[in-house]
Amino acid sequence: MEWVTTISIWIIPTIIALVLVAGTLKRVPTYETFVEGAKEGVQMSFSIIPYLVGMLVAITVFRESGAMEFFISLMRPMLQAIGIPADIVPLALIRPLSGTGALGMTSDLIATHGPDSFIGRLASTMQGSTDTTFYVLTVYFGAVGIRKMGDALKVGLLADIIGVLASIIIVSLIFL
């Protein structure tokens, strides 16, 4: 436990120190260069707003209308049939759509089942090993103005499915 916390605390300051020392040694005008790069960051954040507003409003409407819950209950028996625990189904389905939704659900599962239960461990593993595909897609492509996404969404969602199945199999093998 100790070492993980220590690493997390030290890693960012170490990177910063490394970059600044290397920059100084290479005679880079550090402060001016920092400001030059930072300016791009400001513009970038603003350029993402329209994409994220569009996507998040659609997803929130879908979720709050009860449609998401309906589809989850529809898919639950099917997924249960192939061995996916019923409690974990909502998390698996929400993970690619909504980051905050998934995080809330993971906390909820850990709170009700206990962090050291099978479901608690599974939820933890799943949360850590997958990402919010829709968010990544919207932010990364939105920021640089990519409109034709090609196969990106299909690839991302299939990767999520693989991550969910892998979590279930691995946690079952190790903790059961």
Partner: protein, 196 residues
Amino acid sequence: MVNIIWVTLFVIGLVFAGINGTMDKVNEAIFQGAKEAVAICIGLISVLTFWLGLMKIAEKAGLLKGLSRLLQPIARRLFPDIPKDHPAMGYILSNMSANMFGLGNAATPMGIKAMEELKRLNGGKDEASRSMITLLAINTASITLIPTTVISIRIQYGSVSPTEIVGTTILATACSTMGAILVDRFFYYRRMRKRM
């Protein structure tokens, strides 16, 4: 594709709200969703500004080039379209390393910067190139070594061993990353065949 998904999410949601009588919640959701999106972007300003500033120094000091040279053998296989020593590679590798250590905050700016370089490589077209899709696939599979957020939630709920899921997470994430790369390759070759 995106257009259809976007409209479908709305239409299904609105029809459902009509049937279920949850229209009041939908009205709330519209503004709540918009607010949340803007809040995320505002939150991103500080992070993007700081990291892109720092990364500019790293780039000028030659650190990014060094990193990409170090990991060249793996990276070249993953992204065969990117020319040797191109700045895109440095950003891609910083993005991947930041993800591995659970530094989502630092990973996003570098991922975006990598996308920007990839777009330039692709002649500034608004179409996703092969490398862009690969980078996206790797990011959605999120290679993680230390899942910091999850560990902190587990501590919060009094886990006896909050870090016991680190091993399973690494294994699961390795599977999903490899899966993502394979799926990405599969779709790439399918596109190639279609074009012929």
